[in-house]
C-alpha cells in the first residue's frame, strides 16, 4: 500500500489538488503500479496536464466567473432567440431587485425612469383629452340645434342614450370594439372599445362569436379559408371578422366603413401574428402576455364623422340682419337722443336764470330739476330748439331770482317800465339811468330801484328831467322856424344847411318828447311862394317846397307819422309887402305844430 501513497503524495505535490478517483480504483486490481504509472505518465502526460489545467479552471470561481462573463451576453441572446425562458426566469429576480432598490432609495429608480415617464404621461393625457374633446365637441355641436333637439326627442322616444342617437346620425362609421380571439379556444386575448360603445361582456360575446363561426362552418360545409367574414345587424351595425392562423380579429362597427378598413384590420392581425406567434402557441388560458397589444388594437378603433357643412339657414341670416339693424337703429337713436340731451343741458347752463341741480334717466325718460328765474328763457322752448319732444322729458323747475347781470337788468326794466327815452344799464350792482324822463318817472325810479333784487345802488346823474313846458317851448321854437328858397326854385336855398340841421334836431326833439309824454304832436309843413308869377305855377311850386323838406326829414330818420305837407302859393304870405325883401322871405316853408290830445292835468 506504500507505493500508491507515494504516488498520491507526489501527485499532491505536483498539483496541490486531490488525485483523480479513477487511478485509485485501478490500483487495487493491478499490483505492478509503478511501471504502469510511469507508462501512463509517458503516454498521457500532456493530457493529464491539460486535465489538471481544466480542473483548476473549473475550481477557481474567480476565473470561471471571468470566463462566463465573456460568453454570457452571446448565450443570452442565443437563448432569447429560441424562447423567452431567460426573461421569465429573470423576471422574479428583477422584480425583487427593483423592489429592493426602491426600498433602499426610491430616487434612483425615479430618476432612471423619469425620461420615459414624461412622454408616456403626456401621451396618456393627450389621448384622454382628445377623447374628451371628441365627445364634448359633438355634444356641444348638437345640443342646441334644432336637429339636436330632434335627436334628443328620438333618444327619449327610443329610450336610447343620447350619445348613441348622436353617433347614429353623425358617424360615417366607427369601430366600436375590437376583439382579439384565440382561434383554438375562442377566448378573448385582448379587447378594446371606444368611449361611446355599449359593451357587453367581451368573453361571452367572443365565445358566442366563435361558436357562430363554427356553426356556420359546420352547417354550410365551407372549405378551409371560407369563414364568416361579416355579420350585419339592424341599426347600421356590423361585425367584421378577420381570420388568422392562430387568432381572429373581430371588429364591431357602426355605420358604413370604407373597404380599406378591411385592409387595416388585416394588417393589424398580421402584425399581431408576427409579434405574438409564440405566445399564441403556448397559450394556456393566461392572457397577460397579450396586455401589450392594447395600443396596437386601439389603432384599429377608427372613426369618421360626417362633415357637417356649416350651412346657416337664410332665415337665420334674415334674423341676424334684423337684429343687427335693430341694434344699429337703437344705437343711433340712443346716441342721437343722448347728444341732443347733452346739447340741451349745455344750452340751459349757458342760459342765465336756469340752474340745473339734477339730471338723469328714469324709466326711459330724461328728467331735469333745478331753479328757474321767471324772467329766464322758457326751458320748453330750448327743448324745441334741440328737437327733443317735451313729452320725453320730466322737468321740475323751482322759481328763484337770478342775479345774472342780464336778468337783473331785465327785472329792473320790467319793474320800472322806463320810457323809450331812458337807457337803463347795470354796472356791478348799480343801476344807471340815462336820457330824459318825466319828473314822475324819475321819482318812481328812485323809490323802486333799490327794491329790485340784485341792485344795491342807482345812478341817475345822466338822467334829464323834462316836463310839458319843454314840449310847448319846442313847438313854439319850431313854429318860429322858416326855410327860404331861391326864385322859382323848389330846393332849399344855398346857405340854408345850418337851418335844415336845426330843423331836424327840433323835429326829433319834439318827437322824443311826444313819446315821453305819450301825447301825439301834429306837425304841418306849409310851402309858400312870392307874388310874382301866376297862381297856377305858384301853387304846385309851394307844394313841392313843403314836400322836399318833408322828404329831407324822413330821409334823416324822422317818423313821418303825424307830419303833413301843404302848398298855399301866395294865399298866405309870410310878409304882406311886395318889396324884394318881402318877396325873398315869402319864397319859404313855415312850420306849424300842435298837440293832438291834451294829457291829463295839462292844458294846451
Amino acid at each position: 500500500m506504500l507505493p500508491p501513497t507515494t504516488l498520491k503524495t507526489r501527485s499532491m505535490k505536483d498539483s496541490g489538488n486531490p488525485p483523480p478517483k479513477e487511478p485509485i480504483a485501478a490500483r487495487s486490481k493491478d499490483q505492478p503500479e509503478e511501471p504502469l504509472h510511469e507508462l501512463r505518465s509517458l503516454l498521457l502526460g500532456p493530457e493529464q496536464q491539460e486535465l489538471e489545467g481544466l480542473r483548476q479552471r473549473l475550481d477557481d470561481a474567480g476565473r470561471r466567473a471571468e470566463e462566463i462573463s465573456r460568453v454570457l451576453p452571446t448565450a443570452i441572446s442565443l437563448r432569447e432567440a429560441k424562447d423567452n425562458k431567460i426573461a421569465r426566469a429573470l423576471a422574479p429576480t428583477i422584480d425583487e431587485s427593483i423592489k429592493a432598490s426602491v426600498k433602499k432609495n426610491p430616487k434612483v429608480l425615479a430618476e432612471a425612469i423619469f425620461p420615459a415617464l414624461g412622454p408616456g404621461i403626456r401621451k396618456a393625457i393627450s389621448s384622454t383629452i382628445m377623447g374628451m374633446i371628441q365627445s364634448l365637441n359633438q355634444l356641444l355641436n348638437h345640443s342646441f340645434s334644432v336637429r339636436g333637439l330632434k335627436w334628443r326627442w328620438e333618444a327619449l322616444r327610443t329610450r336610447k342614450p343620447f350619445a348613441e342617437v348622436l353617433l347614429l346620425h353623425t358617424l360615417v362609421f366607427q369601430v366600436e370594439q375590437i376583439f382579439l380571439i384565440h382561434r383554438e379556444t375562442g377566448l378573448v386575448l385582448q379587447h378594446v372599445e371606444s368611449k361611446e360603445a355599449m359593451v357587453q361582456d367581451p368573453d361571452l360575446v367572443s365565445g358566442m362569436l366563435s361558436a357562430i363561426q363554427d356553426f356556420v362552418k359546420d352547417s354550410f360545409q365551407t372549405r378551409e379559408g371560407e369563414t364568416l367574414e361579416t355579420l350585419r345587424m339592424g341599426g347600421g351595425r356590423s361585425v367584421w371578422i378577420e381570420d388568422g392562423p392562430q387568432a381572429l380579429l373581430a371588429a364591431v362597427i357602426r355605420g358604413t366603413p370604407p373597404l380599406d378598413l378591411r385592409v387595416t384590420l388585416k394588417e393589424l392581425l398580421e402584425r399581431v401574428h408576427l409579434g405574438y406567434s409564440d405566445a399564441f402557441e403556448r397559450f394556456d388560458g393566461d392572457v397577460s402576455p397579450f396586455s401589450g397589444l392594447r395600443d396596437q388594437l386601439d389603432e384599429g378603433l377608427q372613426f369618421q364623422i360626417k362633415e357637417t357643412k356649416a350651412r346657416i339657414s337664410p332665415m337665420l341670416w334674415v334674423l341676424l340682419f334684423a337684429v343687427v339693424a335693430a341694434f344699429c337703429m337703437w344705437s343711433f337713436y340712443a346716441l342721437r337722443s343722448h347728444l341732443r340731451w347733452e346739447k340741451y343741458l349745455r344750452r340751459i347752463n349757458a342760459e342765465g336764470g336756469l340752474v340745473i341741480t339734477q339730471t338723469g334717466k328714469e324709466g326711459g325718460k330724461y328728467f331735469i330739476s333745478g331753479f328757474r328765474d321767471p324772467l329766464a328763457k322758457d326751458p320748453e322752448s330750448l327743448l324745441k330748439e334741440v328737437a327733443i319732444d317735451s313729452s320725453d322729458v320730466m322737468s321740475y323747475w323751482k322759481p328763484y331770482h337770478a342775479l345774472d347781470h342780464e336778468l337783473v337788468l331785465q327785472r329792473a326794466r320790467s319793474i320800472l317800465i322806463p320810457p323809450d327815452t331812458v337807457l337803463l344799464t347795470l354796472s356791478d350792482e348799480t343801476l344807471v339811468a340815462e336820457g330824459t324822463a318825466s319828473g314822475g318817472w324819475i321819482k318812481t325810479f328812485r323809490t323802486r330801484a333799490l327794491y329790485i333784487p340784485g341792485i344795491s345802488a342807482y345812478d341817475d346823474t345822466m338822467l334829464e328831467d323834462v316836463d310839458m313846458d319843454r314840449l310847448a317851448r319846442s313847438i313854439e321854437e319850431l313854429k318860429a322856424m322858416t326855410l327860404t328858397f331861391p326864385l322859382a326854385g323848389a330846393q332849399v336855398g344855398e346857405g340854408q344847411k345850418p337851418a335844415l340841421q336845426s330843423l331836424l334836431a327840433k323835429v326829433r326833439d319834439i318827437q322824443s318828447l311826444q313819446t315821453l309824454f305819450k301825447i301825439p304832436v301834429e306837425i304841418v309843413i306849409t310851402g309858400h311862394t312870392d307874388n310874382s308869377g301866376t297862381e297856377g305855377l305858384n301853387l304846385p311850386l309851394s307844394h313841392s317846397r313843403a314836400k322836399n323838406v318833408f322828404d329831407y326829414l324822413v330821409m334823416n330818420g324822422v317818423n313821418p307819422e303825424h307830419i303833413s305837407t301843404r302848398g298855399v302859393g301866395t294865399r298866405a304870405p309870410l310878409q304882406k309887402g311886395s318889396t324884394p325883401e318881402d318877396r325873398r322871405r315869402n319864397r319859404a316853408v313855415s312850420f306849424d305844430a300842435f298837440l293832438l290830445d291834451s294829457p291829463e292835468g295839462m292844458s294846451p
Partner: protein
C-alpha cells in the same frame, strides 16, 4: 388573468342549464341552445389568489334529434358531463359523449356531475355505480340544481384540475 374554456355536455333535460343558471354571468337567452346549439356564460372564481374566468360553453342537450357539435369542444380545457340521476339512460349518453369528446379534442380534465340529488330516492342509478366511477379515478360530484348542492364545488374542482393539468 387566466381564462379557461370549459364545456358542459349531457343528454337532453338533465338540468345542465338550471344547474349553473344562478352561478354564472350570462347575457344570452335560452334560445341560443336551440338555434346555435350553444350558450356561452362566464363564471369567475378565485383559486389560490388567482382570478380565473371560466368561459362556460353550455352545449345543447343530446337527444335523438340533435347531436352535439363536436367543433364546439375545440380548445376546451375541461368538461362537465351532466347526468340525470333519475334517468339511467342519461349516464349512457354522458359516457358516449365523453368518448366522442376525447376522440375530438383529446383527454382533458372532466367531472361527472350526477344531478337531481334532491330527488335521491327516485334515482335509477345506484350508489355502487357512482362509486365505481370514483374508484376508476374519475371525479364525481352529486349536485342539485334545486338546492345548489356542490355546484360551486364542481366549478372549483374542475378549475383546480385544469390548473394542475
Amino acid at each position: 388573468m387566466i381564462k379557461k374554456k370549459i364545456c358542459m355536455l349531457g343528454a337532453f333535460a338533465v338540468g345542465k342549464t338550471s344547474l349553473v343558471q344562478q352561478y354564472v354571468h350570462s347575457i344570452f337567452s335560452e334560445k341560443y341552445h336551440t338555434t346555435v346549439g350553444v350558450k356561452v356564460d362566464k363564471k369567475k372564481i378565485s383559486l389560490n389568489e388567482r382570478e380565473i374566468d371560466l368561459i362556460l360553453w353550455d352545449l345543447h342537450g343530446e337527444d335523438g334529434f340533435q347531436e352535439v357539435r363536436m367543433s364546439y369542444l375545440r380548445g376546451a380545457s375541461g368538461c362537465f358531463y351532466v347526468i340525470d340521476g333519475t334517468r339511467r339512460a342519461t349516464l349512457d349518453v354522458a359516457l358516449d359523449l365523453r368518448k366522442r369528446a376525447e376522440e375530438a379534442i383529446g383527454a382533458v380534465p372532466f367531472i361527472l356531475v350526477f344531478n337531481k340529488w334532491d330527488l335521491a330516492q327516485e334515482w335509477e342509478i345506484d350508489q355502487r355505480t357512482v362509486d365505481g366511477f370514483q374508484q376508476k379515478g374519475a371525479v364525481v360530484m352529486k349536485t342539485s340544481a334545486k338546492t345548489g348542492r356542490q355546484v360551486e364545488e364542481a366549478f372549483r374542482s374542475l378549475a383546480e384540475m385544469m390548473m394542475e393539468g
